[in-house]
Symmetry: C2
Subunit: 334 residues, 2 copies
């Protein structure tokens, strides 16, 4: 477990300052106190007060998502959620789940027997057992990137796919691109269908050509590039928009293998802005999802449900981060 | 100005309890303290601490909406906003505005010269001068029922029209109705277009007949019933869904004048659940918008923007309140 000294080192302050922050002393600033508490949460340090028995318990269930290291998609989501929850005196448990686990445990029963008053679900797929149970649960539940109709106990948070994808397409158009492909995520996921629709809407609005063949599914794996890049390039595609940074890194590799230069011959855009994206060659232009904010929003939406304010959905704005993987469309004959 | 005694009377507690609540004494419960503070805000009582000079200032701008009495649509929205803002140490000013005012004052300039750090806009119409300025403002701004694309400084909150209207139509279908009309609000408003689309989507999904003639605009005024009720009834409509309770009350009156009984001959549904709706004859079935929660949500979304969390939209769930104005479809020949 982390010590007070670990927190002090991380923040570059003295042990006594950390101690004051943890004990709510009045002679340090509110913003410094908050930094001490946030860092304590990040490092896993807990005080007796933070572990007090009257604190309410929340659970984050994680499926299909890596979250244990700062490089991974779920890490900051969970951190943002836990930091916000800690300020409001909640304890948070993170529980990885599998389809098998869900088929053996009813959601409501599991929550009840563990004393959880609410949950945040990240990485769920439409076919998951619990997804059906969310239609009727009375337990305050927030889903990342999944929407349950008409159950006021359940809310949805996410990033606005429509704005993100349109931002990327407008950026590519400004560089002269017209033949733009989308390598989507997994089939059978709400967010993939939403992004597919966003691509169709934006291409239609800007009068750009597209077809089923220009929007394949890549299942979020880097190797998907092997299946799709040569086909897309042979169709005259000059820009490839990928639904995560990992697939975009696969596209960069695949282009290199085929002797196609990025961005001179092909422009590539990722999604998420994971730490890896600025370190790729070339550094990746990408649609940023602010994961710390997603986690904070997840908590605030859940806290609203717990307080009987039936938030149906909360969306955050994405942000296009322009780096070096996009450039003027090559003057290649189409 | 309200006194401590007014607060005590309203809550049915002693003056010393109110005093403890206002001064943050430790020997009253947190929930009672919160009630004292909420009531103080509602009655307009302020302490020196609440007026302190380091408190940040927010403004609620109101247009096209009544809000001064508890019966009116805007009253609880503003109350919910002010109560939540007060807990986070903000001062709130309510400023009614007109199109003329907007044409004479630039939004950013007005905010700056008054020292407001953020604003909540309620009742704005698409053609308002300031609506264009919201596309480019950097000042944290939340709009009720209006959406600005791609500006991360501006967010939208509202009630989910799609669920509300589908709930109402499903309820009417369960009573045997198939010919259902929508009397919409004003043209040239985002929310009217959203509700029109919600009606079209729901009628289409349930395979019910509709046309341009079954979805007229009533501009939120009771008298609109005079224009539309006889036409709709002559078309064989058996249920009329109105986009506010005032138009629904007009429909009740108009049906009575024409010798048509509600709900035996015609079912009527309102929107909002204003206090008036339970007192009509018959008491009105209506799609409830929880206005206190809308106000609270408005504040929390604004506070997120102020803290650089770019919330794009937050929607609340509506709730169908079934009273006596809906019943089985009459066996009238169509």
């Amino acid at each position: 477990m982390a010590t007070i000294k670990d927190i002090a080192n991380q923040l570059g302050v003295s042990v006594s300052t950390v101690s004051k922050g943890l004990n709510g002393a009045s002679d340090i600033s509110e913003s410094l106190r908050q930094s001490v508490l946030d860092t304590a949460v990040e490092l896993g340090y807990t005080t007796k007060q933070m572990r007090g028995k009257d604190r309410r318990k929340l659970c984050i269930f994680v499926e299909n998502m890596d979250y244990e290291n700062p490089e991974e998609f779920g890490y900051e989501i969970i951190l943002g959620f836990r930091q916000s929850a800690s300020r409001e005196n909640y304890d948070v448990t993170v529980t990885p789940v599998t389809p098998l686990f869900q088929s053996m445990e009813k959601y409501d029963t599991y929550m009840l027997k563990n004393g959880y008053v609410g949950a945040f679900m990240i990485g769920y797929a439409l076919q998951d057992d619990w997804m059906t149970q969310f239609n009727t649960t009375n337990i305050p539940t927030i889903l990342l990137d999944n929407y349950i109709k008409k159950n006021p106990a359940v809310g949805y948070i996410g990033t606005d796919s429509f704005e993100g994808i349109d931002d990327a397409i407008v950026h590519l158009m400004s560089l002269g691109h017209r033949r733009i492909a989308l390598i989507n995520g997994s089939r059978n996921s709400m967010i993939s269908e939403q992004r597919r629709q966003a691509y169709i809407d934006s291409m239609t609005a800007h009068d750009l050509p597209f077809s089923e063949a220009t929007m394949p599914y890549g299942y979020y794996v880097a190797d998907a590039a092997k299946d799709h890049v040569s086909t897309l390039l042979s169709m005259g595609i000059t820009a490839i928009l990928c639904c995560n940074d990992l697939m975009a890194s696969g596209v960069l590799t695949e282009c290199r293998l085929r002797g196609r230069r990025v961005p001179e011959d092909v422009s590539v855009i990722g999604f998420d802005d994971l730490p890896i994206s600025s370190k790729l060659t070339p550094p990746l232009t990408t649609i940023r999802q602010n994961r710390l904010e997603l986690g904070m929003c997840g908590f605030y939406a859940l806290n609203s449900l717990i307080n009987h304010v039936p938030i149906s959905r909360t969306l955050l704005r994405p942000q296009l981060i322009v780096r070096k993987s996009t450039a003027n469309a090559a003057d290649i004959p189409l």
